[in-house]
């Protein structure tokens, strides 16, 4: 227990350092871009008059608006970082790339009789995606001794064990040892570098050859942008595991729309009932107040037990995710009506029913829209998570299946699409809001 807490602290500290590092780099680039931009625009577009002082009004959201240029530069920077870190072919090599190609080193061996000789190890490093079956020919090395030429074929960034003595004359006798690599002495558990990589000697005297890994990230962890783009084109055409890319997205969206619609269909009337009738409010309050803080994701296991992994389970989950949010939004929309409006309507001769339909309902629309925006966001997040756990089709299903086969490019495409669609949903909701409740926030 104590140790675990210490671990958490350690991780936290480590993360702080890492985050500061990343931010510092990103901010440094930002500062650089700013200087360039300022030099370019000097005197042309200076904020005039009081606008230049607008940042003084803290808390006024309109005071500082995002600089469009900064946003564009930031996105470009992100892609540049991505390209640089992954050694993208679209950019000139900036970080050292992993070694690919042919190399060699010599080893010095001492046999049981105490004589020493040098042999050659030919190293061929294949690119990760190459299916080159060729091997260097040991006969190409001229000169013979009891230490015979060895051949190592290894994939980039990978290490390979080679027991150089196994083909040597007398190599199986006791006392036959490898003592140096390219003239540099080596002993078990030691590492010596050669021109294009490292050689590590195991406790048993085998050599582990690791070609230079460079400083770029491996495609397994983060593929370069052009690879992701190629994969995107391919996914677009062929889909993944027999399901089209947009078909996956479509299924996720359908679930969200159906679940959200059901949530509205039942949540809004329920909220109205709770806002207008004290018995019903009392009746539903415990369940609503209890369910509200339960994250929908926590319901996934129960939903799977109850409904299995079919559509019903996922739609039920989304229904539940939207239901409480919409109920509470409708309830507070109804309770939040300014009593002066109700009084005014009464004085103008409205009946109870007219007050409900002509005053209370329209008055609650802005709150309902706020709730709908939140609910849509939550539903989108929930559907992806639910598909990660169990689904036949869907954006979440696609990325979890791809991750099982280490298809990082598909995972990244999935994440980008999920993010873009989540953003588009919010934009659509905002547009609808501006159209349908233009008075929101202006009363």
């Amino acid at each position: 227990m104590g140790k675990e807490i210490l671990d958490v602290l350690g991780v936290t500290l480590w993360m702080i350092v890492g985050i500061i590092g990343i931010f510092a780099l990103y901010l440094a680039v930002s500062g650089l871009c700013y200087l360039v931009q300022r030099a370019y625009y000097r005197g042309r577009d200076r904020a005039k008059g009081y606008t230049s002082l607008k940042t003084v009004t803290f808390g006024d959201e309109s005071a500082v608006t995002g600089n469009r240029m900064a946003s564009v530069a930031a996105v470009i920077t992100l892609f540049l970082f991505w390209g640089i870190a992954t050694g993208s072919k679209l950019l000139p090599p900036i970080l050292p790339q992993p070694f690919v190609g042919e190399s060699a080193f010599e080893y010095t061996a001492v046999n049981a009789a105490g004589e020493s000789a040098t042999g050659t190890v030919l190293v061929q490093v294949n690119a990760a995606d190459s299916d080159d079956k060729s091997k260097p020919d040991p006969a190409s090395v001229v000169g013979a001794s009891f230490a015979k030429t060895d051949v190592v074929v290894v994939a980039e960034r990978r290490a390979k064990l080679v027991k150089v003595q196994s083909n040597d004359d007398g190599g199986d006798q006791d006392g036959y040892t490898v003592t140096a690599i390219n003239g540099k002495p080596i002993a078990p558990e030691e590492t010596v570098s050669f021109d294009d990589g490292d050689v590590f000697m195991t406790a048993k005297g085998s050599l582990s050859v690791r070609p230079a890994t460079g400083m770029t990230m491996e495609a397994l962890y983060l593929p370069p942008p052009e690879k992701v783009w190629e994969r995107f084109i391919q996914l677009n055409k062929e889909g993944y595991l027999g399901v089209g890319l947009w078909e996956n997205v479509f299924w996720s969206l359908i679930r969200v729309v159906v679940g959200f619609a059901l949530g509205c269909l039942f949540g809004i009337p329920l909220g109205f009932a709770m806002g207008l009738n004290s018995w019903l409010r009392g009746w539903f309050e415990p369940i609503v107040e209890f369910m509200r803080p339960v994250p929908p994701l926590a319901l996934i296991p129960l939903i799977i037990i109850w409904f299995g992994i079919g559509e019903q389970g996922k739609i039920s989950l989304l229904f539940l995710a939207a239901l409480w949010i919409m109920t509470i939004a409708a309830r507070s929309g109804v309770s939040g009506v300014n009593i002066a409006k109700v009084h005014a309507a009464y004085s103008l001769g409205a009946t109870k029913k007219q007050i409900l339909t002509k005053v209370i309902l329209p008055n609650s629309l802005p709150e309902i829209f706020t709730g709908a925006r939140v609910a849509m966001g939550v539903c989108w997040g929930t559907v992806v998570a639910a598909e990660l756990v169990a689904a036949e089709k869907g954006a979440g299903k696609m990325i979890i299946a791809a991750s099982k086969f280490s298809l990082t490019d598909i995972v990244i495409i999935g994440i980008i699409i999920i993010g873009v669609i989540g953003y588009l949903i919010d934009v659509l909701m905002r547009i609808a809001e501006r159209r349908l409740v233009p008075w929101k926030g202006k009363a």
Binding site: N338, A340, A344, L348, G349, W439, K442
Partner: protein, 267 residues
């Protein structure tokens, strides 16, 4: 009999902690048809409570009120109310707000349209019928509120600080408008205000209320409202009796506020 009769009305609020507040105690008033009455008093003396009871939003704990001979038992279009702020319907445009009352009664749309048109011109908003409420300034919104109230042709118009949120200039224009409407329509108007000058200008009768328990402290009959109809209100304020009356009432209210402060400090 015509007019508004308030017979021994009291209002006691029970507080959740067991105590109670005598917001109004034994109010007796007769307000004739077509009278313009302003009500003044320190904060918390029960002015809003009084108006809400007249409007029918609150039932008094004792006493009865009659309007033109029948009892007041709840809200009714015969008694229109103009609120200080926030009672307009933001989801409707100006015309629909004004036409709300007739529409609820099921008046034919042609009649509503004609009525709205007429009222828009009375309150000086001819070209604003299609505007939404949030596109209007505070003064314009109060004009809409006034027009909406008039659309129902009420016998009594109740106003709770209708001009309280407006700037001085807009306020002056609105005061003239209230006087105009009073004269043109001959309606009974009861208007609560915090401004002594406004109470003097907009009250043939001026009621000064006192707190704890809320009651009528003093009543004035004033000539200024009659003088102000269609005239320059600044001219009226130069009337030789205007200044002295204003100072007298100001002192009266000032003393009451002092007394309240003293009492709370001693408590």
């Amino acid at each position: 009999m015509t007019g508004l009769v308030i017979d021994d009305v009291s209002m006691t609020f029970e507080l959740p902690n067991g105590g109670n507040v005598e917001a109004l105690k034994n109010i007796n008033l007769e307000i004739k048809e077509g009278e313009l009455m302003s009500v003044l008093g320190p904060s918390g003396c029960g002015k809003t409570t009084f108006l809400n009871i007249l409007a029918g939003f609150l039932a008094p704990t004792a006493g009865v009120m009659t309007l033109n001979g029948h009892n007041i038992t709840g809200p009714h279009p015969e008694r229109g109310m103009v609120f200080q702020h926030g009672a307009l319907f933001e989801w409707m445009n100006v015309s629909h707000n004004i036409g709300f009352g007739p529409k609820m009664k099921g008046t034919p749309q042609v009649e509503i349209d004609a009525k709205v048109e007429e009222l828009l011109s009375i309150v000086g908003l001819q070209d604003f019928g299609e505007k939404m409420i949030y596109e209007m300034s505070g003064g314009m919104q109060q004009r809409v509120a006034l027009a909406r109230c008039l659309a129902n042709d009420p016998d009594v118009i109740l106003m709770d600080e209708p001009l309280g949120a407006l700037d001085a200039l807009t306020r002056e224009k609105m005061q003239s408008l209230v006087l105009d409407i009073w004269k043109k329509t001959g309606k009974t108007i009861i208007l609560i205000t915090h401004s002594v000058e406004e109470a003097l200008l907009l009250g043939e009768r001026l009621l000064v209320m006192a707190p704890r328990p809320g009651r009528v402290h003093k009543e004035y009959k004033l000539p200024f409202a009659e003088l102000g109809v269609g005239a320059d209100l600044r001219e009226v304020k130069r009337h030789p009796e205007f200044g002295p009356t204003r100072d007298e009432i100001l002192n009266m209210i000032w003393d009451m506020e002092e007394e309240i402060m003293g009492r709370t400090e001693n408590a």
